[in-house]
């Protein structure tokens, strides 16, 4: 089986689906001739032509809004927002339009589109090339939100997202683009949205996480195994729809839950996960649910010492797990 990178899995999924389905097209800034600033759409313009790999003006609201119109018409746009930080001008189109199209038209119109956006930090991106923005959208019914952690999951989830009949925000952790390689089947396969994945079986402490933090948690778990702490790692993979059953099952597995995310703590998605556990699995807990998240500062600074202080890492995660294990 070919071993490919996280970003190659993005390109492969898009290319395969464009080959299979003529209604799929890509639009965004620099996605055509340049193949994307991260090269996620590299080579697609040669395969599918400039009408289906469209370099747009530098206008995020238009990228999403034009996508919505094309989706309502019957196409399946894949819109790229160059950095998740720049999604803000498009929020009205995403929240007021894409998310509500089906509901407000009583099911007569729909918006089958994917909005891809590289997010996350640890790459010297400073305040505006590092943010995690998922929590801005997780409370908006009508949207689906996907946050894959491995190349295998990227391909399967991206194919599902493109075929989905609702708007999907597909958040790709940019530090993972070339950090992680994985065996990925060259043939097509899908992973259903709304299914979490156990990335490591363990019996002492459960960590519920997603994105880059899956890998940091797995690193921490490896280290803790040497200390005799057996960590169970649940990768949510999609935040909306949330795999509640998997969350509750993982909670019951160990009775001790640590939620880890790179996004800041207050009103982060971990709060929702913790609330669900409190509501539905309180009596299965042996310790209070705890959260390890980035600090409540606007975003991570450029200076490498400050960036390091902001970011979680395997050591910080290991310390939090250890603390919970000892309770």
């Amino acid at each position: 089986m070919p071993v490919i990178s996280y970003i190659d899995a993005v390109t492969e999924a898009i290319s395969e689906e464009m080959g299979r389905d003529k209604s799929v097209f890509v639009l965004g800034e620099d996605v055509g001739v340049r193949g994307g600033v991260f090269r996620a759409t590299n080579g697609l313009i040669d395969l599918y032509g400039e009408d289906r790999v469209l370099d747009t003006p530098l206008t995020e609201s238009a990228i999403v809004g034009v996508g919505i119109g094309a989706a309502a018409y019957g196409l399946r746009p894949i819109a790229e927002i160059q950095f998740a930080d720049f999604i803000m001008p498009a929020v009205n189109q995403i929240v007021s339009e894409a998310a509500k199209m089906r509901y407000r038209s009583n099911g007569t119109w729909q918006c089958p589109m994917v909005i891809r956006a590289p997010y996350g930090g640890g790459i010297h991106g400073a305040l505006y090339h590092s943010q995690s923005v998922e929590a801005l959208f997780t409370g908006v019914p009508g949207l689906k939100i996907v946050t894959p952690s491995t190349p295998y999951d990227v391909k399967g989830l991206l194919l599902s997202s493109i075929r989905d009949n609702d708007p999907v925000l597909f958040f790709e952790h940019k530090k993972l683009y070339r950090l992680i390689k994985d065996e990925v089947p060259s043939e097509e396969y899908t992973i259903p949205l709304g299914k979490a994945d156990v990335k490591r079986e363990g019996n002492d402490v459960t960590v519920i996480t997603y994105g880059l933090m899956v890998h940091y948690t797995l690193d921490a778990a490896k280290k803790l195994a040497e200390e005799g702490i057996d960590v169970h790692v649940l990768d949510l993979r999609t935040l909306i729809p949330l795999d509640k059953e998997a969350v509750l099952e993982a909670t019951r597995k160990t009775g001790k839950v640590l939620i880890v995310h790179e996004d800041n703590k207050t009103s982060g998605f971990g709060a929702e996960v913790a609330a669900i556990i409190a509501e539905e699995a309180f009596f299965d807990l042996d310790a209070p649910v705890s959260r390890l998240c980035s600090p409540d500062v606007p975003s991570m600074p450029y200076n490498s010492k400050l960036e390091k202080a902001f970011m979680l890492n395997p050591e910080k995660i290991a310390a939090a797990i250890r603390e919970l294990a000892e309770l």
Binding site: P57, S61, V66, G69, A70, Q93, G107, T108, Q110, D166
Partner: protein
Amino acid sequence: MKHLELGLTDEQVREMYRYMLLARKVDEKMWLLNRAGKLPFVVSCQGQEATQIGAAYALDRQKDWLCPYYRDLGMVLLFGQTARDQMLSAFAKKDDPNSGGRQMPNHFGDRRYRILSGSSPVTTQMLHAVGIAYAGKVTGEDHVVLTSCGEGSSNQGDWHEALNFAGVHDLPVVFLVENNMYAISVPLSKQLAGENVAARGQGYGMPGIRVDGNDVFQVYEVMKQAVERARKGEGPTLIEAVSYRLTPHSSDDDDLTYRTKEEIEEAKKRDGLFVLETYLDEHQLWTADEKEALSKAIDTEITEAIKFAEAADHPNPEDLSKHVYAG
């Protein structure tokens, strides 16, 4: 005679008038129902019917698309919606074709007639129109999209992003700005720094044309040219049709707090509906009996529509959570 010069038959002029009158009378009746405490909210088309019918009449009602705004009652009636549809929507009943009673009145959307569902935030629909036009380009269809808004809305970012995008890609969109002199209470002088809206077309690589929005023939004439241009692949056109909003912004507004009765009375003399009625009279395009019969037929249609809508079923509260997502 003007209409013959434009290639319009006598019958077509009477049809134009019929739809303008239907829009006016439906609108007037909604105000009465609102003041009688039967409808919570009304937002009007009054004063803009000539613009709306003149513009929509130049489209192909079998294949062209509308992305209208909340005053475009005349447009959607001409495209196929009925007085009954409007009353079902005003009473927010289950069979309201726009939204099944979910949206406020005048938030048009009807798949039967290729009218894309709209929202309340202004000018988001201009980008959807561009997307539908782009989809036509990708799929090889030759439809034209008409999208419209008020002059105040032409200051929104999405408006400018839409014109620029359509201009760059020579897309078959007609942008119609229905300049009714007021954005709720704020007059034109405080809305536009430049001389007028039409002048903005130049910056986006398209003709910008200003016409008398009270003259249905003038609007039809420029619209017809714009549609021909669009259909031939020559790109978008911006049309600014100047008229006057004869009612307060909505049933919750008191317009005498910011303009005078005298000003409104003066504007009524130029009312497009009255102008066309006079034209029909002067050129003897109907008999007094025909005129009277038309008015009566519309009254009957509206009375029946109200009766039907009042008696119609409400949406089922059990369906509150329906159509958030597909399936």
